[in-house]
Symmetry: C2
Subunit: 292 residues, 2 copies
């Protein structure tokens, strides 16, 4: 099986499981519809695919972490819904489709975000129980909860919105993105090692995901300047217009590209060491040479 087939297989696994988890009959239809709208808006399932890839690379059974991996995708999706709100980034489009609040109104969008975060924990806690309360499931969920909280994603978002229009230095820029994007990517990889019961690999895996996460964000910032609106499904130059500090505004385009290459290479090198099958290596290259 080549890389593209293997990627598709993992994405299908995630999508099918998300469909199953979102078959909910005992909640108001409107909120389930709003949650599904954003959850199935065309995301590439990068985070859960990373979880599966790391788990399999380390000899684990990816089926054991599928619910937890989907729970990360739900958390990622909730953060996008809330980030897009008028009070935050005020975005009308994401992946070429109207944002959640544009379709359902602000009140339902706020609740759909809340609901996805809460449901992620419901799903994950059920997974712990289903697996006879084995400690590794709780350990994995601890990684997820830390990565999405105030010392992780939410903390990064706070730095982001409070730094608009302000001068920030390189350290704060790295710190902000490590928290805002990097931490959840780190948790995605970490749960792969934990569910594979390869705790001794955690440092290695986190080193990989640190480099991947930073490279991923730099590429994002570069695409905001050089990307193709059609391919990206959102407007170009938005960060600049919003006065947001990015790797491009702080370092300039050329240095940003050099940095992207450096972090990409480091991530790819570690990927080769972690995963003999080379899937993780190819996934790394795929993510960091993307056009959308």
């Amino acid at each position: 099986m080549n890389f593209v087939e293997s990627l598709k297989l993992k994405q299908d696994l995630v999508n099918n499981n998300l469909e199953k988890l979102m078959q909910i009959s005992d909640a108001p239809k409107k909120i389930v519809e709003a949650m599904k709208y954003s959850l199935f808006a065309g995301g590439k399932r990068i985070r859960p695919v990373l979880s599966i890839a790391v788990c399999e690379a380390l000899g684990g059974n990816a089926m054991e972490l599928l619910d937890l991996a989907c729970c990360i995708e739900m958390i990622h999706t909730y953060s996008l819904i809330h980030d897009d709100l008028p009070a935050m980034d005020n975005d009308d489009f994401r992946r070429g489709k109207p944002t959640n609040h544009k379709v359902y109104g602000e009140a339902i969008a706020i609740l759909a975000g809340d609901a996805l975060l809460n449901y992620a924990f419901e799903i994950a806690l059920n997974a712990i129980k289903k697996n006879n309360y084995h400690k590794k499931y709780t350990d994995a969920l601890i990684e997820i909860s830390k990565s999405s909280g105030i010392t992780g994603m939410i903390g990064g978002q706070v730095i982001d919105i409070t730094s608009v229009g302000n001068e920030i230095d390189e350290n704060l820029l790295f710190g902000m993105h490590y928290k805002k994007t990097g931490k959840l990517i780190e948790a995605s990889c970490a749960i792969g090692a934990i569910i594979a019961d390869r705790y001794e690999m955690l440092d290695n895996v986190k080193n990989y995901s640190y480099n991947l996460g930073i490279a991923f964000q730099i590429v994002d910032d570069i695409l905001d300047v050089t990307g193709d609106k059609e391919k990206l499904g959102k407007s170009i130059g938005k960060d600049l217009k919003d006065n947001k500090p990015t790797f491009v505004t702080i370092f300039g385009l050329e240095k940003a590209k050099m940095l992207a290459n450096k972090f990409s290479k480091d991530a790819a090198d570690i990927a080769l060491k972690i995963d003999e099958s080379k899937f993780l290596y190819e996934l790394t290259n795929y993510l960091l040479t993307r056009e959308s």
Copy 2:
């Protein structure tokens, strides 16, 4: 020790533990400040006090559930912050103080809510780990997560905001309040039984909290009509002005008072059976004869 002293002791336990849990050094100051603003805005700690009371009534050690009980208070607080937002109930005051978004702006208020929900799970998951992954802690957290999600509190809030201005029947009114307020009160009591390792008492305890939760909400609706603005710390007649269906608008004031008495009496009767010390009985009366 009389009831008032015993109540104060439990509230102090909760407040001291919340203070301890909110000593956070590795997150942006602004978000911690916003979280603490609402968490320490004068709440009576009803839910965690219920957890402690039920746990002690059933022979458990309340110290074992203190973190979980505080996690319920955080979830309750996050729901108030989001409910008060301009896109939701658009409230400027709560408990006599400006609401979170009035002080910190909408973006930080949304994130402070998200942060409290996420942090509640972080705290609770750490409690599971600290207690050697004992299954009862996971079971308790499952109760909490279900009660705050789309089949519980969030579901109730969705029914609430989508029913503004619409005719709703008695069943939907009961269902809405059972979900919006009752479920988290139910979970507060349920974790008391679970941490006391008295699973066989869960039905009894849930029967108690069902009656308590409904009575509590009817009293709330009555106070919105007959209450004292100063004592309540918020404006009177807001539900009516907002065209919200309440127990008073659906049943009329007299029948609403009769219903409050009926559910209160049922709750108090079960409280006497659960708790020999009578604390739960007195707490029930205290909550249901309150003026704010």
